[in-house]
Amino acid sequence: MFEGITRGLSEALKKLKGRGRITEENVREGLQAVRTALLEADVNYDVADAFIQRVTQQAVGQEVTKMLDPSEQIVQIMYNELVQLMGPVDAKFHFAKDRPTVIMLCGLQGSGKTTTAGKLALLMRDKYGKKPLLVAADLQRPAAVEQLKVLGQQLGVDVYSEGAATPDGKGPNPVVVCSNAVSYAKKNSNDLVILDTAGRLHVAEMPMDELKQIDKICKPDEAYFVCDAMTGQDAVHSSKAFNDALDLNGVILTKLDGDARGGAALSIKEVTKVPIKLVGVGEKLQALEEFSPERMAQRILGQGDIAGILEKVARVQSEISEEERLRQQKKLEKGNFTLEDFRKQFEVMAKMGGMTELMGQLPGGLSQMIPEGEDPEQAVKRVQGMIDSMTKKERDDPDIIDMSRRRRIAAGSGVEPHEVKQFLGQFDQVRTIMRQMANMSMWQRMKMMMGMGQAGMFQPGAQMAKAKIGTGHRKSPKERAEERKKKRKQDKKRK
């Protein structure tokens, strides 16, 4: 998607490179792609339009420098604008001094309120030293009370409940339960009360009135709107209605552990001006994080959650023994990236899960390993099969693999000889990239991950970026081995 944005922009701005100023006309066409991308990311239509307007205004009249591609300039503007719109983050919590602080969670059905209540209780206890009381104020949904009790039990946190209502609406009243809970908290020395209210539609009058009642009687210090990150255009309606009813203090965006682009974050912020406080990134109770406008901006623009991926990589890599990692890094530095290492990388990636998503975000050579339409898991198995069919010697020095070896490997792994050849060609590319990566700064690596440039851009004189031009003569493995040796020598000299 991000590629789509940049491509659209660079097409439209090609003529501009290196001279003149950006004009509205130049920009308009280019921003069409951005607009579509935002809409595909579920940013509200009007919000997307307003956003494009603002970016256009800022871009128009900007001097085009020789150093930057105009499209990069605009991407930068967009990114900054997005970050600004979704920020600033207000990560602080304000606690009352002389009485229990009351936090109320509300939102549509199934958005994640109850789970988030559990997550908040854990955060408040462990990070802020609070003694929270969870309040089961959803008397409606079957087993909603039970669900909160189980979470409380898992965490060892107090839960207040008066049971559930009967299907015909008899039994305790949520407003009364909440107000009783606050009194109970004082007696029970709970300095924090978290109200888990029932899910409700913002257009349902009675339930919304009930929420206003709770608000009036319990006077929560904080009212948070819990919203599913997968929400589409409707996010503006629901968030506005809840904000109108309650004067929200914050938004918690849940289920961000999936691949939703999360345009709702921008829409909600635009419409309500209420800061996004926290994000839910999993079903486990630890999976609650501070909101980062920078990450969210990357995500909406479709750059992939770079920081997230880096973290994920780091996490998985720490699973591999430190020693192994050091060894690999040393090898990488030496440019000795073997098939054995490649295999391990692949395994690491497989472990991280979400191959399809991940592959899209890796530098060129790697994603090409998977032919379009093929199941990534299947492709990984295929590649592993080929590597498994090689001898140790071949794995350490694939350059020795000639026709007959290729046939043997193909037979051993149930693929065609030309597939082995193709794979080795791709591996060769990856090896070059890896060698370059070893010398790159973190920023350069990230840029590369983002697919913002070909590897060659950062490495003047690098061999890989050159487009392959057919010479009519396929080099023998031996010839290629010779060439490689030469290259290695050159690389060493350059250092």
Binding site: T36, L39, E40, A41, D42, N44, Y45, D46, L108, Q109, G110, S111, G112, T114, G118, Q140, R141, P142, A143, A144, E146, Q147, L148, K149, V150, L151, Q154, P167, L201, H202, V203, D228, M230, T231, G232, Q233, D234, A235, V236, H237, S238, K240, K255, D257, G258, D259, A260, R261, G263, A264, E283, G353, G354, M355, E357, E377
Partner: protein, 302 residues
């Protein structure tokens, strides 16, 4: 029957009309089909989550057929017909097996409305005179089993369940045995919510499916993916991955009683050909309706 939802959707829409005009209003405009009109049309389709593909498709077709012509009932009918043509035909609903239990597996992302939809399906099947059993295969989420248990009690239906944290495939196995032995007509299998990007959880779902197939020939006969009508374009990715893993046979579009229009089903149909079988229009067991594409398109317009 669809009238009811139609009414509900209308009510919801009436409340938001102050925010955004409806598609229908657009056709009240006097004048000619020009760029401004087309942009307005595009906007209203996008606002219904219809998504880029179907929206562009329809705007292009309208431009080709009506540019510079007067805005009138023909244009309106044309847009309706186009929208309708991008949806599947009305679906026959659950297909019961001539003999042995009909197995219906339910899947979807977290909180989309699976368990509640099962309550609704229990009622539907029972109303059709079937003997229904449910399998509580969500052993992960807190009190998920209790939730389904309460529904099964209220609806007077048999339930097979296991310990929290136990293997859902084992419960599925157990349920198949019981359903066969005791002559149940329908077995509905609840599963834990999972994001389609979670490979290991998708594999677990596949495992449940395989157990069902092994125990009862041809099972699961229906695999219904529950989509939340409030979700936007991500619903397409969900459908894509769930279909790949468990070969869904249809969609239940839940929570259509709010202001969201669930337009993502256009993308789901276009990309995957999956039909919407039912729509959820409330939290009670009776709040389920068979999907009627004509009425849906009408409702989009109102």
């Amino acid at each position: 029957m669809f009238r009811a939802i139609f009414q509900k959707i209308k009510q919801g829409l009436a409340k938001t009309r102050s925010l955004f005009g409806s598609v229908a209003e657009l056709f009240g405009i006097r004048g000619r089909v020009d760029q401004q009109f087309l942009t307005e049309l595009e906007k209203r389709l996008y606002l219904a989550d219809v998504g880029t593909f179907a929206t562009q498709e329809i705007v292009t077709r309208v431009r080709q057929a009506f540019l510079d012509k007067e805005i009138n009932g023909d244009v309106k009918q044309f847009v309706k017909d186009q929208l309708r043509s991008l949806l599947t035909d009305a679906s026959p609903g659950l297909r019961y097996q001539p003999s042995g239990p009909t197995v219906v597996m339910i899947a979807g992302v977290n909180g989309s409305g699976k368990t509640t939809s099962i309550a609704k399906l229990i009622k539907l099947c029972k109303d059709e005179g079937k003997k229904v059993m449910v399998a509580a295969c969500d052993t992960f989420r807190a009190a998920a089993t209790e939730q389904l248990t309460i529904w099964s009690q209220r609806l007077d239906c048999e339930i097979v369940k296991g310990q929290h944290g136990s293997d859902p495939a084992a419960i599925a196995h157990d349920a198949c045995e019981k359903a066969k032995a005791r002559g149940f007509d329908v077995l509905i299998v609840d599963t834990a919510g999972r994001l389609h990007t979670q490979t290991h959880l998708m594999r677990e779902l596949d495992k449940i499916r395989r157990i069902l197939t092994k125990q009862i020939p041809g099972a699961p006969h229906e695999v219904l993916l529950v989509l939340d009508a409030t979700s936007g374009q991500n619903a397409i990715a969900q459908a894509e991955n769930f279909k790949k893993t468990v070969e869904c046979t249809g969609i239940v579009l839940a929570k259509l009683d709010g202001t969201a229009k669930g337009g993502a089903i256009f993308g789901v149909k276009q990309k995957l050909g999956l039909p919407v079988k039912y729509v959820g229009v409330g939290e009670k067991p009776e709040d389920l309706e068979p999907f009627d594409p004509e009425a849906y398109v009408e409702a989009l317009f109102e």
